[in-house]
Amino acid sequence: MSSSEDTTIPVSESPAADAPSEPAAPVDDLREGLVERLTELLGDGVVDHHIIPGKDVWIRVTADAWQHTAESVRYTLGCRYFGFLSAIDWMPSPWGRGMEAEVDTIVHGKEAKELPAQTTGYAGGDTRFQVFARVANIKDHFGITLKVDAGDETPSVPTWTKVFAGADWHERETWEMYGIDFVGHPFLRHIYLPGDFEGNPCRKDFPLLARFVKPWPGIVDVEPLPGSDEPGSDTAGSDEPAADASAPEETA
């Protein structure tokens, strides 16, 4: 395995280390070159890409090409460093999102708002679940975020464990949290949750139970403190309550 270190083809002649320090150029030769190279290798496998010059690159590939992508970035583009692998659930949360919802519509019996349409981020996406992974080339100092559509109802993508051994735990976590099946993974089993846990907690339609039990403790403090007449009048400062919350928690 270590002998193949030498066979790695350099991606480009330009010293990539300089790229981040330069002022953002409109054209990023290094990252354009990466996308071109990957398109050469995968053909139709590359669906879309997005480049922020001088900063980062996102490339979306098809599920069929997912494993081939791993091999290509590792052996040809020299991205031997495995950063992480995870997933995104693009469905808007049915439970109200953020403080714009003001209070939890479900908890307070108000009429549920109509959900906004499902949108996706950089490099697009067609399905509800998207798996994304980050790899880095530590010689030329750049990273790539790779994305793949996983599907809607029974999401599944091929495994990366055959190329990056470290993907094992990441895929287990993603499987547990999002219910995405990784075809070819040696043994998908729970990593954080108890073995008999049902559901996939990080899916947007999985309710956050703490918010059902107690209303959202955000800007408006609905529960008046004992002895105070005006509820929530002194919690309006946007960053001060956060400082209170960090009461010393003696650990270590």
Binding site: Y81, I88, Y122, A165, A242, A243, T251
Partner: protein, 390 residues
């Protein structure tokens, strides 16, 4: 696995065969050894289930989740300023460092940059967090090996740094000090001089550790050649920080992807070690602590006056987009992948923590080692449970 050399494989097979013969003669069976969840070597609640054959580990499987707090889900219902309170508790020993990459990622999405003085304050506190964190490791590693003295020195000398952090932020462990656009406060009066003398004490501590441990024959015998990680395997598992540098990988995000921090203004060195064993990991961390004190000294000397907050709206809405920013935290690469939909809260935050990747190598690494070495290896990998169970 694949990256073991033939010689190692042969040695392993031979050891297994001789062991199996003994087991056959003695009619022993494999046993399962449960380490943790309350073992001191696990820094919290990591449980390791090791299947043993005699004194050797056949298979070891870490079990996590005793402390999983679901931060990735919780961030989706917190505003950006509120998230820093949560993520303080990921790596609770060097917690200021946890806030920085998140804030930097949010700033990158919003297109704002903190003023230079704020960047200096961030970098100085970041390095102080690193020192406080690694001092604990240096003492703790010795405890794993049965030497109790160093940990008392470590707890004593760590306070010098924690006091300085507390003087600025108000919190020893959970500063919650970094803001989008800058930092909350400036240094108090006389802080710079106090910090410089604290750094002198930290350097004295490093010398003490070197005297106490590095030359010790027992320490060397227990750590040299134990838990060797080849560089290629380290990259596959995404090992970062001192664990990667101890395997000879010259990769430090402070130098190689310098976003929003001013490491470029200081003159310092990235230490690597070619061996990849437990001793190398200890050695690299010791050198890094010294290097960090030198960075703090230099930055304290060259810090200039100026504002500490950029102009940011009172209610922070982050524009739509995605960003991944990682920094070199005490434990390794920590990064936040933020997906924003233009709301007050993030749509999705993927927290990439160093310890999760660093520990994911243990099933591979612990195969074939002897039982006492389990503790050495776990100690030398240095993880914080909050960093695994985030």
């Amino acid at each position: 696995m694949t990256a073991i050399s033939d010689r190692q494989k042969l040695a392993y097979v031979a050891a297994q065969a001789s062991d199996a013969r003994v087991n056959l003669e003695l009619e022993t069976e494999g046993m399962i050894l449960n380490i943790g969840p309350q073992h001191p070597a696990t820094h919290g609640t990591l449980r390791i289930v090791a299947k043993l054959d005699g004194e050797q580990v056949i298979h070891a499987e870490p079990m996590m989740g005793y402390m999983h707090r679901g931060y990735e889900k919780l961030t989706e219902v917190r505003t950006y300023p509120q998230v820093t309170t949560l993520i303080n508790r990921i790596d609770w020993v060097g917690s200021f460092a946890n806030e920085v990459p998140f804030i930097l990622a949010a700033e990158q999405l919003m297109g704002i940059e903190a003023p230079l003085r704020a960047q200096y304050i961030r970098t100085i506190l970041f390095e102080m967090g690193r020192i406080a964190n690694i001092i604990l490791f240096l003492g703790d590693m010795a405890v794993q090996l049965g030497a109790l003295t160093p940990i008392f020195y470590a707890f004593r000398d760590r306070e010098y740094v924690l006091n300085q952090i507390e003087a600025v932020t108000g919190g020893r462990f959970h500063p919650n000090f970094d803001r989008i656009g800058g930092v909350k406060d400036d240094f108090p009066k006389g802080w710079i001089e106090d910090s410089l003398s604290a750094m002198v004490k930290v350097r004295e501590f490093c010398d003490q550790m070197e005297d106490l441990l590095m030359g010790s024959e027992i320490f060397q015998a227990r750590t040299r050649g134990v838990g060797v990680i080849p560089p290629d395997v380290a990259q596959q598992f995404g090992l970062s920080g001192a664990n990667a540098r101890a395997s000879g990988i010259d990769w430090d995000l402070r130098r190689d992807s310098n976003v929003g921090l001013v490491y470029g203004d200081a003159d310092w060195k990235v230490w690597t070690h070619p061996d990849g064993d437990s001793f190398a990991r200890f050695w690299v961390r010791l050198q890094e602590t010294r290097e960090a004190t030198s960075i703090v000294d230099q930055l304290l000397g060259s810090i200039k006056g100026g504002p500490i907050m950029a102009k940011v709206p009172r209610i922070i809405k982050v524009p739509e987009g995605e960003a991944y920013v990682a920094t070199e935290n005490p434990l390794g690469e920590m990064g936040y992948y933020i997906v924003s939909k233009g709301d007050l809260t993030p749509f999705r935050v993927k927290i990439r923590t160093a310890s999760f990747n660093n520990v994911s190598i243990t099933p591979w690494l612990l195969r074939g080692v002897y039982v006492p070495d389990i503790v050495t290896i776990l100690g030398s990998l240095y993880f914080i449970l909050g960093d695994i169970d985030r």
